[in-house]
Assembly symmetry: C2
Homo-oligomer: 210 residues x 2
DNA sequence: AGTTTTCTTGACCCCAGGGTCAACTTATTC
DNA sequence: GAATAAGTTGACCCTGGGGTCAAGAAAACT
């Protein structure tokens, strides 16, 4: 590979990392090329497909962060606490990084690598859930599939509120957690509900401009 | 208005009602015209904007159904039961009719009429919630905004699962309801979780092809 | 039946995104 | 310092959505 090609690839990786993180895995490839200061033809030359770029730029990072979250969740003494930590942490990752959100929601344009991560995430989730259920802390009919589905909707919610009330998703997570807990404790919510003017924006984004 | 124009308007209304109901308020206008057997120019002639068409075709129906749900919810003896009924019923409406789902999620392209419905829905929701809270059946820090946000995500979830497991959203609703209830009762779920092969499809739709 | 008015049509324009490729430029090699 | 291989570019095509409008068709009026 020629030296300038190497440099361009690096610039593209950097631009892609930025944009994926800012706006998710669906950003126009032409825009990535633009930010990298390179023709979009070059992008297609060096990476061929969006998936390849994703694999190189996002997959590793996302896998690491999700892996850490799972590991830490399993290290809790009380399985129930670990369970709650895991859900909150993953949702937080989704909220702060649209790229991770898209990875968790799986199957973008079917990058091999992403599907693998998705599988790992589901396995980890299942392990964490079952551990908490064995400890009697979580209702026994909640499954990994349920959690993934929740992550899927949380990704959309978190993105919709990102510019308006970046923590709004926490309330929904809290409601879910008390719903899943076998102890009836309803801890006070740490975040205020949305004000009516914020609702306009958020609902618009939730249903509108993806 | 000329007789043929009248007929065409009727055909367009019919086609629009069908397509909105099948695929939500964002269906291409050209497709509505096609189904009506009419040029898309005619559609623009007779209705001008998508919003006008929505107002004529969808708004009334949606308002009626949502209104009925709210009314019935308030007619329950036990406020908590009414509350649960309302949430389940609205989610069901969203699941069976993408048009209603879009109405509840508010602000499509800002049809006057839709915003009004959205406001009414929020008011109704608030009333139902407060009644249940007064009866001590629902946690006191849950708000109408929280519920609308939940409806917003449910709309997306219901659409994602529609072709794969049309009742899958019920599990999430059940988790929410037990989380909101002040009684720790966890009733058994009426719907099975998704099987792994179904997850692929659903997660794809949730994040992908809207 | 002829005239006028209203309506319909489909070709046309716009934009944004994905993707390709011949012609050009630049690094590397000898 | 050529010759050659490797890489880059941007004009170009395609798709699918929104939207307009001159010309032609059809209803309504007299």
């Amino acid at each position: 590979m020629r030296a300038d090609a190497q440099r361009n690839a690096e610039k593209l990786r950097a631009a892609a990392a930025e944009l994926f993180q800012e706006r998710g895995l669906k950003v126009p490839l032409k825009e990535i090329a633009r930010r990298a200061g390179v023709s979009h033809g070059t992008l297609y030359n060096l990476f061929g497909t969006r998936e390849a770029l994703i694999d190189e730029v996002v997959a590793g990072l996302a896998a690491d962060r999700l892996g850490e979250a799972a590991e830490h969740a399993l290290s809790f003494e009380e399985a129930g606490k670990g369970f709650a930590y895991y859900i909150e942490r993953v949702c937080e990752l989704q909220a702060t990084d649209p790229a991770v959100a898209d990875v968790v929601s799986g199957r973008f344009p079917a990058a091999e690598c992403l599907m693998a991560i998705c599988g790992q995430t589901k396995d980890a989730a299942t392990r964490i859930i079952e551990r908490a259920q064995l400890a009697g802390a979580v209702r026994p009919d909640f499954t990994g599939e349920d959690l993934l589905l929740f992550f899927g909707t949380n990704a959309l919610l978190a993105r919709a509120v990102a510019d308006t009330a970046p923590d709004a998703w926490r309330r929904q997570v809290a409601f879910l957690l008390t719903g899943l807990s076998t102890e009836p404790a309803q801890e006070p919510l740490s975040v205020a509900p949305l004000a009516p003017p914020q609702m306009y924006e958020v609902m618009g984004r939730l249903a509108g401009t993806p």
